[in-house]
């Protein structure tokens, strides 16, 4: 979000391991590449989550949560145990203290910090963070994992749709502008590029103001009407109506810069000799575009797009809050308000996962569209 300056070579220079090119089939090549990227991704995300856990626990917050939970559980056990209840208060307190100590050693709270931090790492990676302090999922469960899993699909739906719309729309406009270089439309888009300095939520507020508050044609926020329509068709329609503004806000905030930079790549590539040659051969406009301009620029464009998507994930909490979209980001906002520490930590972990998976997927797509990827550090230079 902050560091969104488009870098052309970033992913190429990210590639450090040079996979020696052997004469292997494309499928094997891709498989090998995928496996190595997967390992890298897992290592990266693990380190990322470990850092997150360290930050969260710097003030001993995770420890405090754990200890409080243990005391609560022990309290419940004692309250429900008729034998223990009959004991005198002193003896019972000694029993409680013993049980708490046992439990704490089970959870590793008596171990040195380094050992404990790895224990937390394992729990964080599996989202096994126990119970939320005050939040619950819609089904009424207060397990952190359930809350996160319930909130995941709306977020994926919203951002997946927006990413697809943005990618293809920007690609189409950029291609058409590169063909009409210097036209009025071209100049307008260049002039509008600075608009991309404002994030999606900002345009969201304006769209809500215009379409929901003044014109009253679209909803203020949320994912479906309340109560949700029972019929599938009506449900989908209501969903689409609610998605219109958020998707538009994301598109407006990112499209001008993407179109501008992609169009510039297209222009650079369409002045190559081989493109002139292809045109001279009498190939159709369509063939020239797809095989001679789009193909060599795609890796660069995908790199550019990857940074955009990463920026979008980062901005999700505010974006979903503005649109009251019941996804992960809004859950994070609610968790801040309720000071619900386990949920906040789990949110940080799930966003690491999403970022890691995004980077991973885009690297795979990158390998698919750029056959030179495993030759070495030499990537396309724009």
């Amino acid at each position: 979000m902050v560091d969104a300056s488009p870098t052309i070579d970033s992913f190429n220079s990210l590639e450090q391991e040079v996979i020696k090119e052997k004469r292997s089939s494309t499928a094997l090549r891709i498989l090998k590449y995928t496996a190595s990227r997967m390992v890298m991704m897992v290592i990266t995300v693990t380190i990322g989550v470990y850092l997150t856990v360290l930050i969260a626990n710097m003030g001993g917050y995770v420890d405090t949560i754990r200890k409080a939970q243990i005391r609560e559980q022990v309290g419940l056990i004692v309250a429900n145990d008729p034998v223990l209840r009959k004991l005198s208060p002193e003896v019972r307190n000694i029993r409680i203290a013993e049980m708490v100590r046992d439990q704490e050693s089970i959870y590793g709270l008596d171990k040195p910090f380094l050992v404990r931090s790895f224990l937390y790492l394992k729990q964080a990676l599996t989202l096994d963070l126990g119970r939320a302090m005050s939040m619950t999922s819609n089904s009424g469960s207060s397990s952190v994992r359930n809350i996160i899993i319930e909130r995941l699909p709306p977020t994926l739906l919203l951002f997946g749709t927006s990413d697809l719309v943005l990618f293809f729309l920007a690609l189409m406009i950029a291609l058409s502008l590169s063909r009409h270089y210097g036209s009025v439309m071209d100049k307008i888009v260049i002039a509008l590029t600075p608009l991309s300095s404002a994030p999606g939520w900002f345009y969201g507020i304006f769209l809500i103001l215009i379409f929901a508050a003044v014109l009253r044609v679209l909803p203020f926020g949320g994912m479906v009407d309340a109560p949700p329509p029972k019929e599938t068709m009506a449900y989908i329609l209501s969903l689409l109506r609610h998605m219109l503004l958020p998707v538009a806000a994301i598109t407006i905030s990112s499209i001008f810069l993407s179109v501008f930079s992609w169009r510039t790549f297209f222009l650079i590539y369409s002045s190559e000799d081989y493109v002139e040659m292809a045109k001279a051969k009498g190939l159709t406009e369509r063939d020239v575009t797809q095989k001679y301009i789009l193909r060599p620029t795609l890796p660069t464009i995908i790199t550019n797009f990857a940074l955009l998507v990463i920026g979008m994930w980062v901005g999700a909490p505010i974006f979903e809050t503005v649109f009251q979209w019941p996804g992960l980001g809004r859950a994070l906002y609610q968790a801040i308000g309720l000071f619900d520490t386990p949920v906040i930590v789990a949110e940080a972990v799930i966003f690491s996962y999403l970022l890691g998976i995004t980077v991973f997927l885009l690297e795979i797509v990158y390998a698919l569209v750029d056959p030179r990827v495993q030759v070495g550090n030499e990537g396309p230079r724009a």
Partner: protein, 442 residues
């Protein structure tokens, strides 16, 4: 010196950049004015409303200049005090009558009417009665009651009046043209009559009547009656400071780190590349949120964390690619051959080479940090003491400003944000073209 002059000359060829520069200068001037005219302590105490500064200020009032664009003029706040020179005071033994004239010319009703009384007495408190005489000579009786030391009389909560006017709001019932539908205010000179009866020697009673308007000041007011201009003014230096410090801090460190990374190569380079990879999957905002929730919301702590988390960003990769070329250039080889130290090569020969690349980069980065500051405020992570643009948006949003139609409340800080963001962005783009002529014309 000459190169700076040349840069500016080049820059002035872009009209958008000139406009951007003018806006930036205006914002800087506004910041300086704010710091001088409204010192920090005063601003904070006003914004917290510690000293009850806002009792005579209307709620949800639009900015006053809006009246020049409206056919139906909205009322401004009218404050009548018993010691005003226009007040006719008649004293008769223990009775004192204040006749307070005021002119009402607006096309809409006031939002509220409150009267604040103060009295001094020794044994039994004075008694007051209120009434209003309308321009068409009707007299409307309001409440009468004892005033013990100080008392606030909210007309909308006077049960007798509520019963009398049923579903017409009191402030409208008093000032409306009789039987007008839809209700229209009666313009002209009104008189508010306050009759006080004192029972002790030397006992006094004074009053301040406030007819709250629907417009106020240059920026309007919020749900806590505070004048928004305080937050908007103070938001300017803070937004500029946050954007500038974060952008300069991030890009400078990125430049130095990538210079070190390319110069030494080997494991240092690999390590820095790896850190950059990890940083890419670190959830930026959730981590900032954790820091804000668990440790501190001070703007300086957050600013430091923002810089730390942004250092190993995509910028490092861009700069590294450029340094790779510089590293191989003859002048570096020459400096190495005469035995220049590593730090000399990095800081004296490599880093300065890329400063021209750095400037457009960091100018274009400023808007994203300015917006980041308000993003954090919207998540409730703004510095609790300082009023900023983001916090105004946050409060307006939480009070349902869009839903209730208080658009000015959202639009004012948004407008400032977008103007600031666009100004830096257009200057950044123009600088980029000046410093990297390769991009020109494309």
């Amino acid at each position: 010196m000459n190169s700076i002059k040349r840069t500016f000359n080049e820059l002035f060829k872009y009209p958008s950049a000139v406009a951007g520069l003018i806006i930036i200068l205006l914002l800087i001037a506004l910041s300086i004015y704010t710091l001088i005219a409204l010192p920090y302590d005063r601003a904070i105490s006003l914004w917290r409303g510690e000293s009850k500064d806002w009792y005579a200020s209307p709620k949800y009032a639009m900015p006053a200049w809006i009246n020049s664009f409206r056919k139906n003029k909205l009322p401004t706040t009218i404050i009548l005090k018993t010691d005003d020179p226009s007040v006719v005071k008649t004293e008769e033994k223990a009775t004192v009558i204040y006749e307070m004239p005021f002119v009402f010319t607006a096309d809409a009703f006031p939002s509220e009417i409150n009267v604040f009384f103060k009295s001094t007495y020794t044994s039994s408190p004075p008694f007051v009665g209120l009434s209003i005489i309308t321009p068409d000579e009707r007299e409307i009786k309001l409440g009468n009651f004892k005033v013990e030391r100080s008392l606030a009389y909210y007309l909308s909560q006077d049960q007798k009046l509520v019963k009398k006017y049923k579903d017409i709001p009191i402030q409208e019932a008093l000032l409306m043209q009789p039987d007008s539908k839809p209700r229209k205010p009666l313009k002209g000179t009104y008189k508010l009559i306050i009759e006080g009866v004192t029972f002790d020697e030397g006992s006094t009673v004074s009053a301040e009547a406030v007819f709250y308007g629907k417009v106020s000041g240059i920026a309007g007011t919020d749900h806590k009656r505070r004048d928004l201009s305080i937050a908007l003014l103070w938001g300017t230096p803070i937004a500029l400071m946050f954007g500038l410090v974060a952008a300069v801090g991030t890009s400078l460190t990125q430049l130095i780190i990538s210079a070190i990374s390319t110069w030494f190569g080997g494991w240092i380079d690999v390590l820095i590349q790896r850190i950059t990879n990890v940083n890419m999957v670190l959830p930026f905002l959730p981590i900032l949120i954790m820091i804000g929730t668990f440790y501190s919301r001070s703007i300086f702590v957050i600013l430091t964390c923002v810089i730390l988390l942004s250092i190993f960003g995509a910028g490092i990769l861009t700069y590294r690619a450029m340094f790779m070329q510089i590293k191989e250039s003859p002048y570096i080889e020459a400096s190495r051959s005469y035995g220049a130290s590593n730090s000399r090569i990095i800081f004296k020969y490599m880093v300065p080479r890329l400063i021209p690349m750095l400037i457009p980069g960091f100018v274009s980065l400023i808007p994203s940090y300015v917006f980041l500051e308000s993003s954090l405020a919207i998540l409730g992570l703004g510095d609790p003491t300082i009023p900023t643009w983001g916090k105004v948006i946050d409060e307006s949003y939480n009070s349902g400003a869009l839903f209730n139609g208080y658009y000015y409340w959202v639009l004012e800080p948004s407008f400032l944000l977008v103007v600031t963001g666009l100004a830096f962005a257009v200057v950044g783009y123009a600088l980029d073209r000046v410093f990297n002529p390769r991009l020109r014309g494309q």
